[in-house]
Amino acid sequence: MTYIIRRFILLFVTLIFISVITFLVFQILPGDPVRTILGPEAEEVQVETLRRQMGLDKPAHVQYLNLVQGFFQGDMGDSIRFSRPVTSLIMERLPITISLAMFSLIIVIFVAIPLGIFTARRENKWSDFLLSSFTQLGMAIPTFFVGMMLILFIGMTFSFFSTGGYVPWSESVAGAIGSLALPALTIALPQIAISFRYARNAILEQSKLDYVRTARGKGLTEAVVVYKHVLKNSMIPVLTVFGLILAEVIAGTIVVEQVFSLPGIGRLLITAVSYRDFPVVQGIVLYIAFVVVLINFIVDILYTVLDPRIRLKE
């Protein structure tokens, strides 16, 4: 219990640290949001007036403290560029990014685990090398290159897959799947490469343990041994790995949203940085960091909870 409280405090400290870093970075960034939004046609008098109206003429630390104060009241402030609450901007895009992340995670799970089982049963030198090469290749391909290749070879051939833009679930389920499938696959591919080896190694390690030998000795069929015993026990460490993969997937959405022009969180973040829209950047960075830290936190707790049980079973 003290462990959990300690972790909670650390989570809080981490978020403050990130917020301060973001603020400091924005202090050094050249460029003014109002000027950037208006472009070269802006007049000096207009820039000044708008800055005053939007409260941007106040000292930076005052603006920042106001923002932080708002945070504790559940208000993330208003976007400078869109003059509307950051929370609603994030909420509008969240379904896209979450769908994308979940879709990728589902692909990873449904490909990596069966692949892990399949390859674990065929263990020899050459397959070992081939599989590790495959893993390394999967990690080596830049995600956006994967995306472009998928557009070229799949998106252009099958019209079902949309290669740019997003169709909301509410509009058409098939359309939503079509618009998310290729980007999700793009994010999933390197993660499959990593996680299936985890699954495979976990299975191999389990199958060398005593209880498996005992099970075999009892005359259970191979299928029962593998699926009933080995798989069940080896999935626990694998599941914890998926926590980390989810974090990777969330980060992956940022680049992939650019490749497939999906209007998600990542896209909002990149344009917000270029327009010097500090409240939006701050909101998104904190949000993503919060989710990542939280996932790691859950994974850690999951691990400590599961660990003794595994030992008991052995």
């Binding site: 640290f17 970075v25 472009m148 969330i250």
Partner: protein, 273 residues
């Protein structure tokens, strides 16, 4: 894993072959490329691969092969800076944290955690926005990114070693802590650091490509493989070679570094046995 000893270290061999190949290509590109890397010949734009232009030409009629050759310079340069920065700062920070322990360790590791909770690409975007784009700034940004990960590895190495006899002996005769960190412990934990460096190189190449792809990394006219991919995107369907050539080059290069890192890991695992 007993059968492993006799097996050839295929990862190491393949990794070294790939990297050696690109290293030679890079060296050649300093003295010779088939065409001038930046020379513009608008009339020859977007030509398909041919005997004259093995990988075709880009939107300005520039030879893609020549630009890829020069692009490997950028890749190695950025990678080298990132790895150097990562190893130097990572070892110092990790060493101090791991060796001294206590609240200093706690403080440093929370900062490291904080940096790692930022998705790397976001931090890179922000750092680049501050320092500006370009080869050197991109490399510095990515070097900062590489540091926390290496610091963690270094720290755990130091923690494992600091209780060992030779360190205790050095402490007993009053050797300065900094000397213990760098003279005594460091030589004993070099192998995980070399593996980490090799992985960091691979990740740096990917990150440089991603940043340049987002338009935030290396800027024209400097050739960058990631930027070439960005430039090619609009012509993906009509001129696929423009995308394929730089894309496959990055992939192979990164693969080389991953294989090298796994190869080294296998090698050092044996030795420790």
């Amino acid at each position: 894993m007993s059968g492993r000893k006799k097996r050839k270290n295929l990862n190491l061999i393949f990794g070294l072959v790939i990297l050696l190949f690109f290293f030679i290509v890079m060296l050649i590109s300093f003295f010779y490329t088939p065409y001038d890397v930046n020379a513009i010949a608008v009339s020859k734009k977007l030509q398909a691969p041919s005997a004259a232009h093995w990988f075709g030409t880009d939107t300005f009629g520039r030879d893609i092969l020549s630009r890829i050759m020069a692009g490997t310079q950028t890749a190695f340069f950025v990678g080298a800076i990132v790895v150097t920065m990562g190893i130097v700062f990572g070892t110092i920070i990790g060493g101090i944290a791991g060796y001294l322990g206590g609240w200093i360790d706690e403080l440093i590791m929370r900062a490291v955690d904080g940096l790692m909770a930022f998705p790397g690409i976001i931090l890179a975007i922000m750092i680049v926005a501050v320092f500006g784009t370009g080869i050197v700034n991109t490399a510095i940004a990515l070097g900062i990114l590489a540091t926390p990960g290496i610091a963690r590895i270094a720290r755990s190495g130091f923690i494992q070693n600091k209780e060992l006899e030779y360190v205790a002996a050095a402490k007993a005769i009053g050797v300065h802590p900094m000397k213990i960190i760098f003279r005594e412990i460091l030589p004993n934990i070099y192998s995980p650091l070399i593996v980490a460096a090799s992985v960091a190189f691979a990740i740096a190449l990917l990150a440089e490509a991603s940043l340049s792809y987002l338009g935030l990394g290396v800027q024209p006219p400097d050739p960058s493989l990631g930027r070439m991919l960005k430039e090619s995107q609009e012509y993906l369907t009509s001129s696929p070679w423009f995308t394929l050539a730089p894309g496959l080059t990055i992939t192979l290069l990164v693969l080389g570094f991953y294989m090298l890192s796994n190869g080294i890991r296998d090698l050092t695992d044996h030795r420790s046995k």
